[in-house]
């Protein structure tokens, strides 16, 4: 059976090369687009593990009082006794405060964990600025040794006026082992 040699034009090769390039450019351009979208709708930003850098430019708003509740939790299999020293405090937006969490490893071996903050209402996350926090990095806990962990923060006075209660909850997770763990579900 005779096969006719197929000739492919130069234009075809150019198109073929450009198409994936354009596609990837488009896909990567979507990232800032989605970021903007999430920013407007507040879809992300329920958590923030980053340190507030720069100057506290927020005005102190003496006419406002906000109640902050502090909560703590740990995940199963992470033997950490973990709680805030104060569970509730009234603050004035723009002022700096410090609160302390205490954690104690109840097991016999050293454990490493990562705290993940979470806010209710979620919109508060953006305006809760942390200057110091144990959630910025992994924390190592020696056996049976209590550890004090301060959080230094202020609440931006740009926070929506109708928010009067904020809850901040830290959840301590076990940092995944380097060696493969047991099969899930068993």
């Amino acid at each position: 059976m005779k096969k006719e040699p197929q000739t492919i034009s130069k234009r075809f090769w150019i198109k073929l090369g450009l198409a994936p390039f354009a596609m990837f450019a488009f896909a990567f351009a979507l990232v800032p687009l989605y970021d903007t979208f999430c920013d407007i709708t507040g879809l992300n930003g329920r958590t923030s593990n980053t340190m507030f850098k720069g100057k506290n430019t927020s005005d102190v708003d003496l006419n406002r009082k906000i109640t902050i509740e502090f909560m703590s939790s740990t995940t199963p299999g992470f033997p950490l006794e973990f709680r805030p020293t104060v569970t509730k405090m009234e603050i004035i937006p723009g002022k700096l405060y410090t609160i302390t969490y205490i954690a104690e490893n109840r097991s016999d071996r050293t454990i490493i964990g990562q705290a993940v903050p979470s806010f209710a209402p979620g919109l508060a996350a953006k305006h809760f600025k942390k200057l110091q926090c144990f959630c910025f990095s992994n924390q190592t806990f020696e056996p049976k040794k209590p550890k004090e962990m301060p959080v230094r923060f202020f609440v931006d006075s740009k926070l929506d006026k109708d928010i009067v209660d904020i809850t901040l909850s830290y959840n301590f997770f076990k940092v995944k082992d380097a060696k493969p763990g047991p099969v899930a579900g068993l």
Binding site: T67, M71, S73, A120, P182
Partner: protein
């Protein structure tokens, strides 16, 4: 295949409809009752009678949602009558068999424009009340009290943040006993909607709920309160309610959370302020008493008896009543390496759970005495005859 039950189908007559199936006479009556009357009579009357509509509920939010629901419902009904009316008209009067001759029109920009813009206007009209209710939902006024709700596979934990009260709420034993037994089921008023410990709340206070989860995603839902909110592991969500009327309001978990998703009810008991305070006092006293119990020495017999109780309420849903577990999903107790091996490891896994699995940290859920009992039970029941006896004091020091 896994999971086929042996108990015979249709083992019992436990629904009113079962009787209908048996008596033909009755059946026709009920078809009229369930299908024709709802179509003919005023909806509100019947909605109340047969629970085929949302309840109005006991909070402003649930009432607003109800109002919104009825508004959209009637808008839909109106559009349906119009559209289906035209359609049925042409199906009756423009039939070929009646000699109808087809006309040939197939375009009209004006008509197209009308039926794009009119629905758009209707939608905008609906959007206004919807937005109002939505904003009210996210209302962030000052709360009088906060309850933290944590979802577990398959129970709820309630923490009264201001009172320091904390407890777990499981499916009531009476309902568990009725799952396989129709006679028990018929005796119950609230099969699968009753818990061992209710969430007690005061009436007339603005209550803030914080939802989170210990394992998978759950969803806390009480219809009469107009509250349904996902509980995500590692994150907190909030919702609020201000209950108008004392009473008992029932709900259940609304997000598939594994095997016993259908067996995780919520019961809220709303009390007048004074009664609520009495309840709070009682809870605090009981908590003290529990702490005192951990100093006591227990006999093996007592431990085994108490252990069996705790095992069946807390452990049996995964590890099985006879300790067989579910192969590949939940490990068996029978001959288990942990339950027959090193005691310290056994205590540790019960206290702290195992990460990455459904095994929870029961150290937070049970007292020293109960933990000692259940561990003793696990090490001596199901043929795991280790002979170990664990005392509450051992647990206390292991914490």
């Amino acid at each position: 295949m896994l999971g086929i039950r042996i108990s015979p189908f249709l083992s019992a007559k436990n629904t009113s409809l079962f009787n209908i199936v048996n008596s033909i006479n009755n059946k026709y009556l009920n078809i009229i009752k369930y299908f024709l009357i709802p179509l003919l009579l005023s909806p509100q009357f019947l909605f109340a009678e047969y629970a085929i509509n949302l309840p109005k509920g006991v909070t402003s939010v649930s009432r607003n949602i109800y109002g919104l629901h009825m508004t959209i419902f009637w808008v839909c009904v109106a559009i349906a009558i119009l559209v289906f009316g035209v359609m049925i008209w042409s199906m009756i009067f423009h039939r070929k068999s009646r000699g109808a001759v087809a006309s040939n029109f197939h375009e009209s920009t004006a008509v197209e424009l009308v039926w794009t813009l009119v629905p758009l206007a209707i939608l905008i009209a609906i959007a206004f009340p919807a937005t109002r209710v939505l904003i009210d939902l996210e209302n962030t006024e000052k709360a009088d009290m906060t309850v933290k709700i944590t979802g577990y596979q398959w129970k709820w934990q309630y923490d009264y943040m201001d009172e320091g009260i904390s407890f777990f709420s499981n499916l009531a034993q009476s309902s568990k006993d009725a799952i396989d037994n129709a006679d028990n089921r018929n005796k119950l008023d609230h099969y699968l909607k009753e818990v061992d410990k209710r969430l007690v709340l005061p009436v007339g206070k603005r209550i803030r709920f914080l939802m989170t989860s210990n394992d998978v995603i759950h969803s806390w839902w009480v219809r009469d309160l107009g509250v349904k909110q996902d509980a995500n592991p590692g994150f907190i969500n909030d919702a609020w309610a201000k209950i108008d009327k004392p009473g008992v309001y029932r709900g259940q978990c609304a997000e598939l959370c594994g095997k016993d998703h259908g067996f995780m009810p919520i019961v809220v008991e709303a009390l007048p302020e004074a009664d609520y305070q009495t309840w709070v006092g009682k809870q605090k006293a009981a908590q003290k008493a529990r702490e005192a119990a951990s100093g006591k020495q227990w006999s093996k017999q007592d431990l085994m008896a108490q252990g069996q109780k705790i095992y069946s309420s807390t452990c049996a849903s995964c590890h099985g009543v006879t300790g067989q577990g579910i192969p590949g999903v939940f490990p068996a107790m029978v001959g288990s390496k942990i339950a027959t091996g090193d005691l310290k490891k056994h205590i540790n896994i019960v206290l702290n759970g195992k990460s990455g699995t459904a095994m929870q940290a029961f150290g937070k859920q049970l007292g020293d005495a109960d933990l000692a009992a259940v561990i003793t039970y696990e090490r001596n029941a199901f043929g795991n005859n280790t002979g170990d006896v664990v005392q509450p004091s051992t647990i206390k020091s292991a914490r």
